[in-house]
Symmetry: C2
Subunit: 737 residues, 2 copies
């Protein structure tokens, strides 16, 4: 009898990994008779992976700045192509012509009694070999408008709609002002968008040391965190309208594509924007008087944060060279031995803001390592049954340009052939992060179960489960996590190249990374370098290998599966929780609105507020009606029934038609009309939030209608998503049962 | 028909103040026939109050440093006595002989490559007229031990038990080290006590700008918040064992009292302790390496907080002049016209750490203004029916010395005669704060109902209700607050002179202040000055008048009531919520302990923690048994029944015996044996927390036994409090029904 905690632990781990019982592990999509062979293949695949090689690739590809349209950017694309071909793949460049602005003039100055001219420059460091190189893009936010403005400054916290609600209570308008917002809490592009919506004429975004600097740990180069001069570059295209080349929505940006005029592009801003360091932000913030910023607004700089409006004029001038430039995707194929017209698409971008050792080269290096290993297997006669399409995207940083244009250009073919799209981006030491289509959740669990974490020698699944259990908010939630044998994958928002596959075309998608023990402040700065990476991100490059295994096993399992491993039962269960969330959301909002309105009407705000603070009560809000969720509940009851039948079905080998139906089924969840005000996004379950950016909104049509208090739209959107679910159920019933 | 929101509001306010209906307001303890006369008396009382006079008193009494045993301290006592006598009271000094240490040597230095000698000095400021005066006590923590130690430093966050649990997970011991802790989260005396329990040989306490400095607002003298040199003085006597002169527990410190040797006093520390500014703390904290402090530990200084242990030695030397010194209480009486042996005791301390314009002179000024007005009423023939005893305490700052010694000296008489003790301390602009015996909650509500807030022209009760509603955590809780017509008063912990009355003798007590719009960093510093007060605390002194009214009306109502206004139904309801809290506490602790132990046993902590951080799992904890609350529930059922009968009783005039029984009833809640390990505290419902200090623990015997996981003690204490409640019920049944 096993009694000691250690023995119990070992027993549990053995059980989890399926070794104790001696049985062959279950692999979804494979009969037991073939599962062992697939697992052997994966073991062979693993033997071709080298952490040293991944480190060398990172060093080489991050050795020079290589943003889109730079000379080195093209060299990197060519080098990646060369490598694919050397591994036995058939690789070529897929080139598009996209708009990409490069700054020609950047000025930020404070006038008044303590004038200050912002440095707008990250210094070279002796500890970072590539930090002083020529060819770096300057610190800027891509898609800022040209502009030359001078105005008083207003500090707007994170620059989100609720921050402007608070400013309104203070009677402070940003109309005709320049705002200064902290990075964080939302995707950066939301901040200037909301500022512009409120009439601001310029926007400064800075990295506060509380969120991204010395507050979190020692700063670079002593530690990994952002030093006072570090700046986060980044795109501020309004990607939640559509990503990709802003001049060619919905179509590939080929030379001959019909283009919008720049002024017509609805996802481009009209005001100048610049990102700055906390060194540059401090004098600007210190120049402000007016109300003291409330607790939630304050940062880590050593002075009192005031809101303004500033009486000292701030001058912001931005000028860009707006050119159409080439965008070089690398597309490499390895033809499937049995089902050449069923594609497993895998991708990672190759362009960086500067050197990009972590973002994106750590992901590219892992992907190239997979391709090398798969090439070796192929050379030994183990070609995948389905076709593999490995893509290295250009122009991800400015707005998913390369992937979006390629997907739009090949939309019909992809909807026909793409079984799945598997994405990665940057990678580091830590825990498995997986997000994507929930019909693939079972597969992800099985993949994670079979990969050993480099540091702890348990499976990466077990390690993630431990993290999820520890992070759960309440004892009850922790208990539930402890009782589960599997993990949930996250829903996909945006921020990397899966967006067009999943949200525009309905191609089932996954995104993988490791991280959580690799915190730092190098993101989109000149310090995202090989020197930084090997000290702070993944010193042994073992998590590069873990990513290669995770994505590679996923690719190989789907490629070789007898039955493509979609588990719509997990999709049903997940959507069911979303429906509950929406119902709770509307009920909580109704209760909160009623009580807030009563507090306002009963004058409680006025009485409870410091009279010296001149803080008005919030505005009254429309009462929240009872919303009819029954169409959604009935649709889910139907999906419940169908997915139960699917799960109960005796597993034989699927016909090719059934496999095709299974991988195309997610397209039934698209709505041709798209989301309100952003028709490019067609998936009824997953989208980036209109006011969160990267952050996902699930069942976005309904959720955002409720959050933004558009009750009629909520009803319409419930109808749309319910019809999509009914369509999916009918489709599965007809084609897969 | 009234329809506009403004009209509705006015109607609601009128209704609340009882004016609209034309009826006389209900006054507990007064038949309707006498209520109007009492209200007229209070109106006359109000007419004698002058904000200008309060301002002048603050200016005069805070014009020089006047700590206990200083020459000016005695002058202040004499001046207060003189004033009482001039108002027609009979005032004299009640002098005790108490231990009070004054520093003779203070050294704090950092060695190593960047040596630093701490300033330990707040600079004089031209904007603050009294800040450069002679006679200021230096910055120190009173009751620090003498000591001369040199050791490495460890940063311990707020220095609470849970912080040491975290240090243990990191494998960091403070044994033989000097710790540096932030002010905040607990009473300051807890920090060195816990440090000493863990083997530290010295303790530094500093004001972090995140908690008390520029983070909150502009610093003094530009704004009210703590500048980089400001230091919070304060007592670190272990007052949760017993307050008062440490050499004379339980008895008055008269000249002839038997005294402990200083070494024997169980509430004195053995290690040296010093409070410092953030200017002085910065070099010490910056000298630390070792683990980065977790998020919850970090402050507002502009660098990364490390825990240490420091390798650079820190030198701390403290030496004191330990003398027995005189402690001058002023006691003024105004004899009752009908019940001279029933006393309404009212008090506020007069000693300050330095000038003490807010603490305590703002309270003293209001109390003197009351005494003046009551004296005027008496001169006009309106003497109170019961005797008033107004006390100005000395030596509150070092440890409630004056009040405790006087109470211990007059214990028997007070338990016989004291109807109530009404305390105040410092005061400022804002909201009514009331705490005390819950049998007085109804009275407090009626008093608050009849006093108009100086800024908003609604009652101070309505304003407090608004604040409570707005602050409630959830919509449900807000709704409940909105539905109530009354406020809850807080339970009393410690930190001012009510402690000995309530917690040692069972005299029903109240504490009043206004505040919440008077934030600042002057507390216990040289900047608690008249200049600071009139700029930032209560510029018009109108809240001084509001405090005079609040305490004065309370005094006059109890003094003149036909039936002393105790409402034990409110006590029952309050204790009932405490009992529910305790049951929830034990259930939640059981659930949390079980799941935490499972996380530890299943190795989830090890797997979920960054392997580079070397953070061990927490220690396993004993499972939480099911605790038998039925004795308490049965006791409360009995109190429910008795208090229902009391409330339903037809109100005639009480006999003197019944009134006496009502005001003495709270003594039934005392337990002669006192709390575990601190027998001085005898009240079974209210005590300062053993590890929170000022912060109250209700039903402390049971609550602390559960929190500190002593299950047998929890059972014993449930028995003790249940017996006390049964005793109270029987007593009320016998004497008051």
């Amino acid at each position: 009898m096993i009694t000691s905690p250690i023995s119990q632990l070992m027993a549990a781990l053995l059980l989890l990994s399926g070794i104790a019982s001696g049985q062959t592990k279950k692999l979804s999509g494979f009969p037991d008779s073939l599962a062992a062979a697939q697992l052997r293949l994966e073991t062979q695949f693993d033997q071709h992976l080298s952490s040293a090689n991944i480190g060398a690739t990172i060093k080489e590809l991050a050795s020079q700045p290589h943003h889109i349209s730079s000379a080195r950017g093209k060299e990197v694309a060519e080098e990646i192509k060369r490598r694919f071909n050397s591994y036995g793949w058939d690789a070529s460049l897929a080139t598009y012509q996209v708009l990409f602005p490069i700054p020609t003039e950047r000025v930020l100055e404070l006038g008044g009694p303590k004038p200050y001219k912002a440095l707008l420059k990250e210094p070279a460091l002796p500890e970072d070999a590539t930090s002083g190189q020529a060819g770096q893009l300057p610190t800027y936010n891509c898609w800022s408008a040209d502009g030359d403005v001078k105005a008083g400054l207003v500090f707007v916290n994170y620059g989100l709609p609720e921050d402007y609600d608070y400013l309104q209570r203070l009677g402070i308008s940003v109309k005709g002002k320049i705002v200064i917002a902290k990075y964080g809490r939302s995707w950066r592009g939301i901040k200037p968008k909301v500022a512009q919506e409120h009439g601001a004429i310029g926007c400064i975004i800075y990295s506060d040391p509380r969120d991204d600097g010395y507050y979190s740990g020692d700063v670079y180069p002593k530690g990994a965190f952002k030093n006072e001069y570090g700046v986060q570059r980044g795109s501020i295209m309004d990607m939640v309208i559509y990503p990709g080349d802003p001049l060619t929505p919905n179509v590939g940006a080929t030379s001959e594509a019909k283009r919008l005029k720049r002024e017509e592009a609805p996802n481009l801003l009209k005001i100048p924007v610049i990102p700055i360091s906390y060194h540059d932000a401090a004098p600007l913030l210190q120049s402000l008087e007016g109300p003291v910023a409330p607790d939630d607004w304050r940062g880590g700089l050593p002075f009192t944060y005031h809101i303004g409006p500033g009486t000292t004029p701030v001058h912001l001038k931005m000028k860009f060279d707006w050119q159409i430039r080439p965008c070089y995707n690398v597309v490499a194929t390895l033809k499937g031995s049995k089902f050449p017209d069923q594609w497993i698409v895998r991708g990672n971008h190759h362009d960086a803001w500067v050197n990009g050792a972590a973002d994106p080269i750590s992901g590219i290096a892992a992907m190239l390592e997979e391709a090398k290993a798969i090439g070796e297997l192929a050379k030994q006669g183990n070609k995948p049954a389905r076709t593999l399409v490995y893509c290295a995207w250009d122009g991800e940083e400015p707005g998913l340009l390369g992937s979006t244009e390629w997907v739009e250009d090949h939309a019909k073919e992809l909807q026909e052939k793409a079984v799945v799209y598997i994405n990665s981006d940057n990678n580091g030491r830590g825990f498995l992060n997986a997000s994507g289509s929930h019909a693939l959740e079972t597969l992800v669990n099985e993949v994670g179960r079979d990969i050993t974490d480099p540091q702890t020698n348990v499976s990466v699944l077990a390690r993630r489960q431990a993290l999820d259990a520890l992070r759960a908010a309440t004892p009850k939630a922790k208990k539930e996590k402890l009782a589960r044998q599997s993990i949930n994958i996250n829903a996909m928002g945006s921020g990397s190249d899966y967006s067009s596959f999943l949200q525009h075309l309905g191609v089932p998608s996954l995104d993988y990374s490791y991280g959580g023990e690799d915190a730092g402040g190098e993101y989109h700065s000149i310090y995202d370098s090989y020197d930084d990476y090997r000290r702070f991100k993944d010193p042994t490059f073992d998590y590069g290998v873990a990513l290669s295994k995770t994505a590679g096993h996923t690719v190989l399992r789907i490629a070789n599966a007898v039955n493509v491993p979609f588990d719509f039962r997990r999709l049903y269960e997940t959507v069911n929780t979303y429906a509950s969330e929406l119902s709770d959301l509307s009920n909580n909002l109704r209760e909160a609105t009623a009580v807030e309105n009563q507090l306002i009407n009963d004058n409680k705000y006025a009485l409870a507020t410091d009279t010296a603070k001149h803080l008005a009560a919030p505005a009254l809000k429309d009462p929240v009606p009872y919303i009819d969720f029954t169409p959604l509940q009935n649709a889910l009851a139907g999906l419940d029934s169908v997915t139960q039948q699917l799960s109960a079905r005796k597993q034989g080998a699927n016909s090719e038609a059934v496999n095709k139906a299974l991988y195309q089924a997610e397209q039934q969840l698209l709505y041709a009309g798209g989301l309100p005000n952003r028709s490019w996004y067609k998936h009824t379950l997953y989208a980036p939030g209109f006011y969160t950016g990267y952050g996902v909104k699930t069942i976005p049509g309904v959720r955002e209608a409720i959050e933004q208090r558009r009750w009629k739209e909520a009803d319409e959107q419930i109808k749309i998503v319910s019809e999509a679910i009914v369509r999916l159920s009918g489709y599965l019933q007809k084609h897969a049962l």
